[in-house]
Structures are given as structure tokens and as C-alpha cells.
């Protein structure tokens, strides 16, 4: 089925909305302020709108459609009861400016979540305000800079390993920092860090386990070097799903870390958002947390805003509360042992995939994997590349892995299965991967022409960027 744009369905006079009869006298604005109409706006009945979006949805692929092994994105199952929890009227309809004493349920939940994240990560203080991982990074790096400034110290450099997410350098830049890349050999060595450290260096930004799915085994030594040099260590928490109940970043010497509630804590990705990116910090950094912070005193909760050293606000209001409710529901449903089991099974799944594919696909880094595994397209035959493999997987009914990232692996294929996938699902996926590798040698056109079973084929992305068409016009 094809589906036109909303605007192409429109017919003058239709409406899919109803208002009660106006029970007060009508009012007018001064004519000079008033527009004619919202030109171009669609006019549709309710059934038009419902069919339109129902049809659009069928062109999408979600976690509920099938296996979604997007590396570094932790596409785990999103429990349905969490959706119910977030929609509980007393939660979903609460206005953010309601007085604290009439918001005790919301505040209690936030406080409980802060405490749970602190326990999981080993950081004594947590802010829930940041809206997403990158936003949490920004908050974290601003706190690091604020701490340095509070010491009268204006260091200007940040060390970032070559395996880092692109947000890390972008965030450092937003804090007025200059980025100094460090080469790793899959795992960062304390020696490399020691060589790069100096009096100008404010911080190191690290991801652990890193984007190759490898544990930064020298993390303790690395933190020690940075600390000894007067710097702080930021950890990108995107890969926390490997570590829950196993090891805590706060115990490793790290000073700041953000959480991705939409990865580790099972909240839905929503087609690109909203996420939520709380940040945990050491006691030293706690005074710098953004406001508001939820504080408990004798069983009563309040939003504390008067914190003189705070970096300020990251956004309006207290953060993505609706996402917090879901994450809280997840943590309470799993319990401490359940979270540990989640990390264990996530790591087992990744290692099982690795074991099944290793002979066929090239594995550039061979240290033991944690929750994800990165292959390359080196050994694919028939002039087939990672992109072709990805598109062919679509025809097999799978969402492709993350591709061409991390940049340190040429033609990277980054697979993160998560713990919610059964052995059955993983086996079928591995079978497909092996079958595609065979096809690449025998019938490479199957890969080059893929996908064939989708509503549209490969798109002209170059054309899209060269002459951008960013909105519909008649």
C-alpha cells in the first residue's frame, strides 16, 4: 500500500477534532495581530488520520517486529507494563509547576530512581535532568569545567580515545574545550594516557566497555594517572548494560558518568527519542549538579534549586519524567539480581554470536567481548561491503547492526544482541549471517540489489543532501 502525505489527503472543511460549545463570550484580538489562516494546514477526518498513521507504521521496523541488534544502542525489549505505568493519570497529567507538597508521588519516584542509579553505578549523587545521553554528557563536562574553574584552574584540553562516540568531541567543544585524540589498540593503555596527560588537560572522556565491546582493563590505572595530573575522568555510560551488578564505574575511579535510560533501562527509543540521560558524579562534584535536584527530608521530598555552585539548568523543568517512570518500573521489576542477570545474558548472547560467526567474519580485535562484538567486512566475497550485508539482512527480516562504527574498524559491523533475545532468535540470526556470507561469494548480486522485500529500495541520499527538500509544498 502506498500512502500519500497528510497534505495530499486534505480536503477543505474536514476536521478530526471536536470542542465543547464555548461557554463564555467569544473574544477577539486586535486585528493587526491576527493571521488569515494557517496556510497549507491539512483538513482531515479522524478516520483519515488513523489510517494514515496506521499505514505509515507498517513501513517501520521496531523491537516488537523482530531482532534489532544495533550496536551501542541496546535495543532491548520495552516492557508493556512500563507504558501503562507512565500513562497512570496521576503521573501523566501532573503539571511541572505543581507545588512540591502536592507532587509527593512524582518526587518520591524521582528520588527512588536517583538512589537506584547511584547504587547501580557507584556514584553517590545523581541528576535526572538531562534529556538524553548527549545532554547528560554536556551536563557532565560542564560540571568538570565548573569544578576546575572553582579551583581557579582553567585547563583547556580534553583527551578522547579514537573509539569514542561522535558526541564526545562535540560535547567537549560545547564546553569550550580543545579535543586531543588518543590512539588505542582496541583497549586504551595506561601508558598512552600517561603520555598524553599534562597540566593543560582538564579531563579524559572514556567509554567502558568501549565501542568495540571491550572492557578497558586498565581503567583504574588510567583514572589514577588523570587524577594525579589534576584532571577528572568522564565515562560515557552508553554501554552500562554490560556491567550491572558486575562492576561499578564509580568504584573504578571515574568521576562522572551519564546513563541512557533508553538503552540500559529498557525505555523505548521512540523512533529517535525521547531518551533520558541522568548523570552520576562523585561527592566532590555533587555541588555542581544542575538544578533542580530532588531532596528528601524526613520522608518529604522537594525540588532543590538554591545550589550556589550548580552549573544551572540544562532545560526547563525537571527532566524527562515520563521516561523516568518507565526506567523506575523496569528497575523495580528486575530487582538487583535481575539486573545482574540481564548483564550476564547480554554478554553471553554477544559472545555466543561471536563464537558462531568468528570463523566466517573477520574479527579485528580479539580481546574477550562483553555485550557487543565488532566484525569487519574484510572477508566478505564478491566485492560486497558492510552496507550490502546490512541491506541483505533486511531481506532476511532483521534490522541490521550498526555499521561503519566505530571508525577504528574499516567496514565495521557492530552487533549488540541484548539479553532479551533467546538462543532461538540468535541462532536464526547467525544462520542468516552465515548464509549471507555464502551468498556474497556465490551470488553477490543478492547483496548489491538488496533490499528487495521493502516498500522502497536503496535511496538516493546524495541527491537528498545536494538539493534538500525538507518540507512539502503544493
Amino acid at each position: 500500500l502506498n500512502e500519500k502525505l497528510l497534505f495530499e489527503h486534505s480536503d477543505a472543511g474536514r476536521k478530526g477534532y471536536s470542542l465543547p460549545r464555548l461557554d463564555v463570550p467569544p473574544a477577539r484580538l486586535p486585528a493587526a495581530l491576527v493571521r488569515e489562516e494557517v496556510s497549507g494546514f491539512p483538513e482531515l477526518s479522524e478516520v483519515d488520520v488513523v489510517r494514515h498513521f496506521t499505514r505509515l507504521s507498517t513501513w517501520n521496523y521496531g523491537v516488537d517486529s523482530g531482532f534489532y541488534p544495533l550496536g551501542s544502542c541496546t535495543m532491548k525489549y520495552n516492557p508493556k507494563v512500563n507504558e501503562v505505568a507512565a500513562r497512570t493519570p496521576g503521573m501523566a497529567a501532573a503539571h511541572p509547576s505543581t507545588p512540591d507538597h502536592l507532587s509527593q508521588g512524582a518526587l518520591a519516584l524521582m528520588h527512588d530512581l536517583q538512589e537506584a542509579l547511584a547504587e547501580i553505578s557507584g556514584f553517590p549523587a545523581v541528576t535526572l535532568q538531562p534529556a538524553a545521553g548527549a545532554h547528560g554528557e554536556l551536563a557532565g563536562m560542564l560540571m568538570i569545567r565548573a569544578w576546575h574553574e572553582a579551583q581557579g584552574n582553567s585547563r583547556k584540553k580534553v583527551l578522547i580515545p579514537d573509539t569514542a562516540h561522535g558526541t564526545n568531541p562535540a560535547t567537549a567543544a560545547l564546553c569550550g574545550y580543545e579535543v586531543v585524540p588518543i590512539a588505542s589498540d582496541g583497549v586504551l593503555s595506561a601508558a598512552a594516557v600517561a603520555a598524553a596527560m599534562g597540566g593543560e588537560v582538564a579531563a579524559l572522556m572514556i567509554t567502558n566497555p568501549n565501542t568495540l565491546g571491550l572492557f578497558e582493563a586498565q581503567i583504574r590505572e588510567i583514572c589514577q594517572i588523570i587524577h594525579d595530573g589534576g584532571g577528572l575522568v568522564y565515562c560515557d555510560g552508553a554501554n552500562l548494560n554490560a556491567l550491572m551488578g558486575i562492576a561499578r564505574p564509580g568504584d573504578m575511579g571515574i568521576d562522572v558518568m551519564h546513563f541512557n535510560l533508553h538503552k540500559t533501562f529498557s525505555t523505548p527509543h521512540g523512533g529517535g527519542g525521547p531518551g533520558s540521560g541522568p548523570v552520576g558524579v562523585t561527592a566532590v562534584l555533587a555541588p555542581f549538579l544542575p538544578v533542580p535536584v530532588v531532596v528528601e527530608e524526613q520522608g518529604t521530598y522537594r525540588l532543590e534549586v538554591d545550589r550556589p555552585l550548580s552549573i544551572g539548568r540544562m532545560k526547563a523543568f525537571g527532566g524527562h519524567f515520563g521516561i523516568m517512570v518507565r526506567a523506575w518500573a523496569y528497575i523495580r521489576s528486575m530487582g538487583g539480581e535481575g539486573l545482574k542477570r540481564a548483564s550476564e545474558m547480554a554478554v553471553l548472547n554477544a559472545n555466543y554470536i561471536r563464537a558462531r560467526l568468528e570463523g566466517t567474519y573477520h574479527l579485528p580485535y580479539t580481546a574477550r567481548s562483553l555485550h557487543e562484538v565488532v566484525f569487519s567486512d574484510r572477508d566478505l566475497g564478491g566485492n560486497c561491503h558492510t552496507l550490502d550485508l546490512a541491506k541483505r539482512l533486511i531481506d532476511y527480516g532483521y534490522h541490521p547492526p550498526t555499521i561503519y562504527f566505530p571508525l577504528v574498524v574499516k567496514g565495521a559491523i557492530m552487533i549488540e544482541p541484548t539479553e532479551t533475545e533467546s538462543k532461538e532468535v540468535i541462532d536464526e540470526f547467525c544462520d542468516a549471517m552465515l548464509s549471507i556470507a555464502a551468498e556474497a561469494g556465490e551470488n553477490p548480486d543478492l547483496l548489491h540489489q538488496a533490499p528487495k522485500k521493502t516498500r522502497v529500495g536503496r535511496m538516493d541520499e546524495t541527491g537528498a543532501a545536494r538539493k534538500p527538500r525538507l518540507k512539502w509544498e503544493k
Binding site: E3, G16, L22, D23, V24, A27, L33, V34, S39, F41, E43, L44, V49, T54, L56, N60, Y61, G62, Y68, K76, N78, P89, G90, M91, A93, A94, H95, S103, G105, I120, A131, H135, L142, G166, P169, A170, F215, R220, G271, G272, P274, S276, K315, F321, G322, I331, R332, M334, G336, L348, A367, I394, E419, S422, R455, V456, G457, R458, L470, K471
Partner: protein
């Protein structure tokens, strides 16, 4: 464990294939000294029924428009949300999907964002909109950064009638970027003071940032502000915290705004104690490549079929890294979808009608309150659906009295502005019945009417 499918036998077979003898062996690379040697102190797992009981018990401790007559606004608005929205966004193909990196299996998300971008352009009168930002406040901060990039100037004039939390967010984002942030005071009408503005504008000025309507509900004179800021070569950044107003008001684009940002929560997104909301962001044609955030563009596939893709990604952090226009690496996908569905349901007539109801209800309330002894409307500017009230007896006392009668009467301005202890901000939407407004008025009067 209902979310983890592994049986004991699965685990045994998988460990065998991996070639280790226990699950613990998988973590051998983690130095023993770093291993957590105790259980996480997070309690027993809750059964689904227990979890729901617990969340309901917590929810019952929150006051909402279901339990109280609510006149709270100030950047988050109680508008009606049609049932269709939740039904559609609950389709798992939408809400359990990730960023549409693989366009062949993401056309649903991509087409919906393209429609969203179009609707935002139509509403704001601008040429291009991105796929959304975190919220109005962070969008406002990004607009400031963009104005700085686009003009190469470092002086920013901020209307002091902007939402105080937006102002605070701008300050946080700019904290270490060596910019001059200067507040422009208000006039007696509650708008940005035009004379002061002219005094403060100069050729180092990158932008003026003002609200439309502003935090006090007042409709600013955008044309005059645009003329003034353009005269010195700066940009006008317009911040719309209540976009329902755009159903009636001239679009910022028509009045000369260069960057329009705002909060889209009013468009079918639950209040949800402050988030997730929806930052919209729209610019003029010439500025598209310096705009932050994701963009969806139309293109076609190898067989010429229309389709949509993420585009102009060269601006973004995963390609440009430290040179990116922003560090943002997500959009508020599902919230943008809610807004798209909401606006599609309302359509051309509906958005105007809803805006008209808001205006009419607020005007009705204003008239009644202004007539009460001991109360006044201190600002003379034209407003849309919220306005400032001054109470001789002090805002805190009044609001507490209202609370006892089951009314959330408004936001005390003392919360944001020292010395404004008599003032509070009252918001009236299409959700407030005449009966509720009359009850508010009667309660304000001390219940003695």
C-alpha cells in the same frame, strides 16, 4: 524472569559454544579488584501486579487537573489530548523503533517527521524546520548558539520577559563560550522594552531573543523588534512557549523572525510532570546548513519511488565531531509524532478554534478578576491564554487559600523574580469550564461572593 528468555539448558549450550565453563568466566577481563562482590541493594523484583499497585499509590499523591481545577501554565499547558494519539503512538513499529538510519525499513518514522517539519514551517511561517530538539528551553539555547555561528558575533540580547527557565538554560549552555548575555528589561505592558532595546542593540549584537507570547502571556511587537535588530545586522530569535497561540497570531516568519524556536508540548503531549516535551526549531532558507539537529528530506529510490531519508548529516556530531553544529544526537521522535497527529486532527479550522477558545476563556477570567477588589492585572499588554494577577494580600496567601478549595490557582512569580511576592501567573485553556473559572473568581474573592 519475564523479560529474559534464557533457560538453564540454553545457557549451558551457549557457554559450551563460547568455550567457557561459567557465566562468570565471560567477565574475566574485568580485574578482580573491580568486581562487585555483593548484590545490588535494589530489593526483590516486583510482580507486575505489585508494580502497578505501587505506581498507582504514588500517582494518587500528585495533584492534577483531574483532582483539582488547574490554572497552571508557564511553559506547560493543560490542553485536551484526543484518544487517537495514544492509540497510534502505541503501535510498536513507531515507539520501539530506533533512529531511522535504515530508510528502507523506517519510512513510517521518516515520512511522519517530514510531515512534522512541514507543519512547523506552516505554523511559524518559516522555510525549514528540524526534526525537533529536547524542549523549548534547550532549543532556545541552541538558537543562541546558531545566531552566534551565523553572525560571527558574540553579544546576545535576551528579553527579560522570556521564561526564566529558558533564560537559565541559555546561561548554562553559554557558560564557557565567552559570550555577552545581556537582559533587556520589560516595559509597563509586560513586553520587552523597545527603548531599552534600541539602546542596547549595536553592531556586535548577534541576536535579540524574545517570547511570543512571552512568559507573562504578553504578545510582543515582533515587527518592531525585527526591524530594530535587522538594522544592526543581527538576528531575531522568537521563542514560542505556547504555540496554540499561533492558530490566531500572525506567524513569526511573517513578522520578520529569523529563527523560531518553541515548546510543542501543547500539541497533544502529556504534561507528565515536565517531560518529555518537544522543542521545535525553524529557520530561513539561507540558514539550513547551520541549523542544529536532525533533518529529514525527500528523495527517491533506485526505481524512482518517493521516499524520505535523514539528510545533511554532515552538520552533525557523528560526522563532524568537535566541529558539529550541536552535540545533540537524538530528536524527540515520538513527541514529534504526537504533535503531528494532533495537528492533523485539528487541521486548519481546529487550530484556530482551539486558539479562540483559549483566548475567550482567558479574557473572561481576566474581566472577572480585574473587577475583584484587592486584585489587579498589573500588565497592560495584550495576552493570549495567560496573564499576571496582583493580589494585595500577597500571592502565597491567595494561592494557599485556593488550594484548600481544590484549585491550583497559578504560579507565584516570587519563585522566579525576587520582590514579585504579590504576583502570580494564571493560565486558562479550553479545558477550563466557565464553572471552574467562576469558582476560581469566587475563591479569589475569599469565597464571600
Amino acid at each position: 524472569m519475564r523479560y529474559i528468555p534464557h533457560t538453564a539448558e540454553d545457557v549451558r549450550q551457549m557457554l559450551e559454544t563460547v568455550g567457557v565453563t561459567s557465566v562468570d568466566d565471560l567477565f574475566a577481563e574485568i580485574p578482580s579488584s573491580l568486581r562487585l562482590r555483593r548484590s545490588l541493594a535494589l530489593g526483590e523484583p516486583l510482580a507486575e501486579s505489585e508494580l502497578l499497585k505501587k505506581i498507582r499509590r504514588l500517582a494518587a499523591q500528585n495533584a492534577t487537573a483531574d483532582t483539582h481545577a488547574s490554572f497552571l501554565g508557564g511553559g506547560a499547558y493543560n490542553h485536551f489530548i484526543p484518544a487517537v494519539i495514544d492509540q497510534l503512538i502505541s503501535r510498536s513499529e513507531f515507539y520501539t523503533a530506533y533512529t531511522p538510519y535504515q530508510p528502507e525499513i523506517s519510512q513510517g518514522t521518516l515520512q511522519a517527521i517530514y510531515e512534522y517539519q512541514t507543519l512547523i514551517c506552516q505554523l511559524t511561517g518559516m522555510d525549514a524546520a528540524n526534526a525537533s530538539m529536547y524542549d523549548g528551553a534547550s532549543g532556545c539555547a541552541e538558537a543562541v548558539l546558531m545566531a552566534v555561528r551565523a553572525t560571527g558575533r558574540r553579544r546576545i540580547l535576551l528579553s527579560s520577559a522570556l521564561h526564566p527557565e529558558y533564560l537559565a538554560t541559555v546561561r548554562t549552555y553559554c557558560r564557557y563560550l565567552d559570550l555577552d548575555l545581556i537582559e533587556v528589561p520589560c516595559d509597563a505592558g509586560g513586553g520587552t522594552d523597545g527603548a531599552a532595546l534600541l539602546r542596547l542593540l549595536d553592531d556586535r549584537t548577534a541576536a535579540l531573543v524574545s517570547g511570543y507570547p512571552n512568559f507573562f502571556g504578553v504578545i510582543e511587537d515582533l515587527s518592531a523588534q525585527a526591524a530594530a535588530v535587522h538594522a544592526v545586522g543581527g538576528r531575531l530569535v522568537t521563542v514560542v512557549q505556547e504555540p496554540i497561540a499561533l492558530g490566531l497570531l500572525k506567524s513569526p516568519g511573517e513578522l520578520g523572525a529569523d529563527i523560531v524556536v518553541g515548546e510543542g508540548q501543547s500539541f497533544g503531549i502529556p504534561l507528565s510532570y515536565g517531560g518529555p516535551y518537544l522543542g521545535f526549531f525553524a529557520v530561513r532558507q539561507g540558514d539550513i546548513r547551520s541549523m542544529p539537529g536532525r533533518l529529514v528530506g525527500q528523495t527517491c529510490d533506485r526505481e524512482g519511488r518517493r521516499g524520505f531519508v535523514l539528510t545533511l548529516a554532515t552538520r552533525e556530531q557523528h560526522i563532524r565531531r568537535e566541529k558539529a553544529t550541536s552535540n545533540i544526537c537524538s530528536n524527540q521522535g515520538l513527541c514529534a509524532l504526537m504533535a503531528t497527529i494532533y495537528l492533523a486532527l485539528l487541521g486548519k479550522a481546529g487550530i484556530r478554534e482551539v486558539a479562540g477558545h483559549n483566548l475567550a476563556k482567558a479574557e473572561y477570567a481576566k474581566g472577572k478578576i480585574a473587577a475583584l477588589p484587592g486584585f489587579s492585572l498589573p500588565l497592560s499588554g495584550t495576552t493570549f491564554n495567560e496573564f499576571v494577577v496582583e493580589a494585595d494580600e500577597g500571592a502565597a496567601v491567595v494561592l494557599e487559600r485556593l488550594e484548600k478549595e481544590g484549585i491550583l490557582g497559578g504560579i507565584p512569580l516570587q519563585r522566579y523574580f525576587a520582590g514579585m511576592d504579590k504576583r502570580f501567573l494564571v493560565c486558562v485553556t479550553e479545558q477550563n469550564s466557565r464553572e471552574e473559572i467562576d469558582a476560581l473568581v469566587s475563591a479569589l474573592a475569599g469565597g464571600k461572593q
